[in-house]
């Protein structure tokens, strides 16, 4: 049974997954420095993708697929016609740099889905990535979280612009649905409701 929750017009349901996730082959290379925006500093030991991994990634010949950001950038020519048919989505890790996606795909909305992989549920970078995709880069299609996705983060994911959630396989998506509505009236403006509470209500004078 599917463990995917989809939010559509504010209604969350368990949905079947129309997409196939394309994974990178395991890397033989040591982890090394991730050169992000903070090149000199960010010695966080996160994986960077090697050229070998990119070349060895098996891309299915047909169907709707979500490819790793690094593969999308390096092998875009192979995917060109399928991108035009809206059959290609992109996924990225929380430590990857959004600007790399935007530079390579100025019109993000040709991608029917962007998916963010969260390795550990306590990694809150995913919330900033969602917020930036929605507010800075104007992304309008499906935004999905997958990986270590648990129900107690769903409310924050929803508010940060995510519209689908691949709940970790050993947990019940059905149970998780309830947590999308943990709070009815949040204080601050965010992606799903840009107006803070003082703009939405007359709280008196």
């Amino acid at each position: 049974m599917s463990n995917l929750i989809k939010l559509s017009n504010g209604v969350a349901t368990i949905a079947t997954d129309d997409w196939t996730l394309v994974k990178l082959p395991e890397s033989q290379v040591e982890q090394r420095v991730q050169a992000g925006k903070v090149v000199l500093f960010k010695l966080t030991g996160e994986k960077t993708v090697t050229e070998e991994q990119i070349a060895n990634t098996t891309i299915p010949a047909s169907g709707n697929i979500i490819v790793p950001l690094s593969v999308f950038i390096a092998r875009k020519d192979e995917l060109k016609s399928r991108i035009q048919q809206n059959a290609i989505g992109v996924w990225l890790d929380t430590h990857e740099v959004l600007e790399h996606l935007v530079e390579n795909q100025p019109d993000l909305n040709t991608l029917p889905i962007i998916s963010v992989h969260v390795e550990r549920f306590a990694d809150g970078r995913i919330f900033s990535l969602g917020t930036l995709l929605r507010t800075r880069y104007g992304y309008k299609n499906e935004l999905r979280a997958f990986g270590d996705v648990l129900r107690d983060q769903l409310f924050f994911l929803k508010r940060s612009g995510f519209t689908s959630y691949q709940i970790r396989a050993d947990r019940s998506a059905q149970d998780a649905l309830a947590s999308l509505n943990d709070f009815s009236q949040p204080y601050q403006g965010a992606v799903d409701e840009p107006r803070p509470i003082f703009q939405r209500y007359n709280r008196g004078t």
Binding site: S184, Q185, P194, T205
Partner: protein, 555 residues
Amino acid sequence: MYKYDKLDQQIVDERVAQYRDQTRRYLAGELTDDEFRPLRLQNGLYIQRHAPMLRIAVPYGMLSSRQLRKLGDIAKRFDKGYGHFSTRQNCQLNWPKLEETPDILAELATVEMHAIQTSGNCIRNITTDQFAGIAPDEVIDPRAMAEILRQWSTFHPEFALLPRKFKIAVSGTQQDRAVVQMHDIGLEFYLDKNKKMAIKVWVGGGLGRTPILGSVIREHLEWQHALTYCEAIVRVYNLHGRRDNMFKARIKILVKALGIDEFRNQVEAEWLNLKDNPNTITEAELARVSKHFDTMPYENLSAHDAGFDNSIASNPAFAAWVKRCVHPHKQAGYRAVTLSLKPHGKAPGDATSEQMWVVADLADTYSFGELRVAHEQNLILADVKLGDLFALWEKARANGLATPNIGLLTDIICCPGGDFCSLANAKSIPIAEAIQMQFDNLDYLHDIGDIELNISGCMNACGHHHIGHIGILGVDKDGSEWYQVSIGGKQGNDASLGTVLGPSFSAEEMPTVVQRLIDVYVQERTPEERFIDTVRRLGLAPFKAYVYAKEEIAA
């Protein structure tokens, strides 16, 4: 003070329900320890040495008598009949049962209280000056902005899981009492040249393992942009702060690594996209929240009170208390009063349920039913008439709340330490008690004068030892407890970090070590010179020489 409307109440009630379900799932085995940890921490619940510890939020230190009474009730019903007031202006219970914490939170919600974000890697309780709203040197009462920031930071979805904890302090006085320079963000409110409220923004300060004073990221920010500017700062931190090593995960490490100029460039670039978004604070919202902090209905009193003057003249004990525990007030005929939670030989910052109830009654009788928690771990009645001080003193004294030691050596700032905290390397409370007993002579204490002594049981620095004039840090050496001593730290506008004297000491040596530091000061001081001034003038050398003069240590 701020009163909840139904929207505020709904959020707190929904939080209780959410946390109750999380706890149920944990106890049922549906959540692992690792999965439950950030959830309980963001509700203030630590798993400690003997029992869980629950940290209850006291937003910017403000409490009503009704709330304090409830804290006393909760400590009686769910704990051992006392609570601990912390250096973050919060209240901690040391012995609650995990299964009962949802019920405690439900009780708190009935008096508009909670434990939201008192721990965990999120934006914590916002702190400020305990004399906010009444201090004569205050330029702007920062409490309305503190409340607006509290609401904004509560369950902020983008900043729910930061690399590490994040602390914001606000102040609006000439003499900083909120230690804005040692917070992740410090907001210093002032009136700009157009007489408009503006903010000087500090970033990247903090104590802990790597003590660093903050840097100014913006000299002038219009108040309307406080939330969006903080969003820009926290976003840069959320994306780029280290997550691989918790000891290098605070924003201060990022600011230091990038340099303040590069960090500023990134924040300003981010802010260009956020400026003027709907989170921009409106005049109407500021006015609405400010109403809750309107001036109290003061009587028109003369600046002098004959009865008060007589009591001072005739009662030296009362006079000594007034000298240390009574503070100036912007309103003629009124004073602020510190109720000392530092009686000699007791754990600093602890109050029993009975004391909380007494203080609640005192607040109702003498101070408009409100009080504050100071980051020095005392309780404050902010609006007391001069003519009421004597009666207040008698009642406070009868309940162990009138030790006239505020600002003196025995007004020790101290974390719970190894007796309670599982992070601690060493005990801190017994050291505080031993020092208090060593100096248990009020005349001598008054002669020593203004001095701050801070004790932390580990480098997480909850006792703020880096900014104590004398700072004591518990360290672990081969499994036994030792104490490293530093001098020359200071809070305030001219904040500084202390310098370590040398090799650490055993617990038994500590009263003598402090005694020797004081001896050097008393011998070397010029008239009117405080301990910190003498240290700054002479440097470490004479203190170090005498403290380590081994042959005389028996003296």
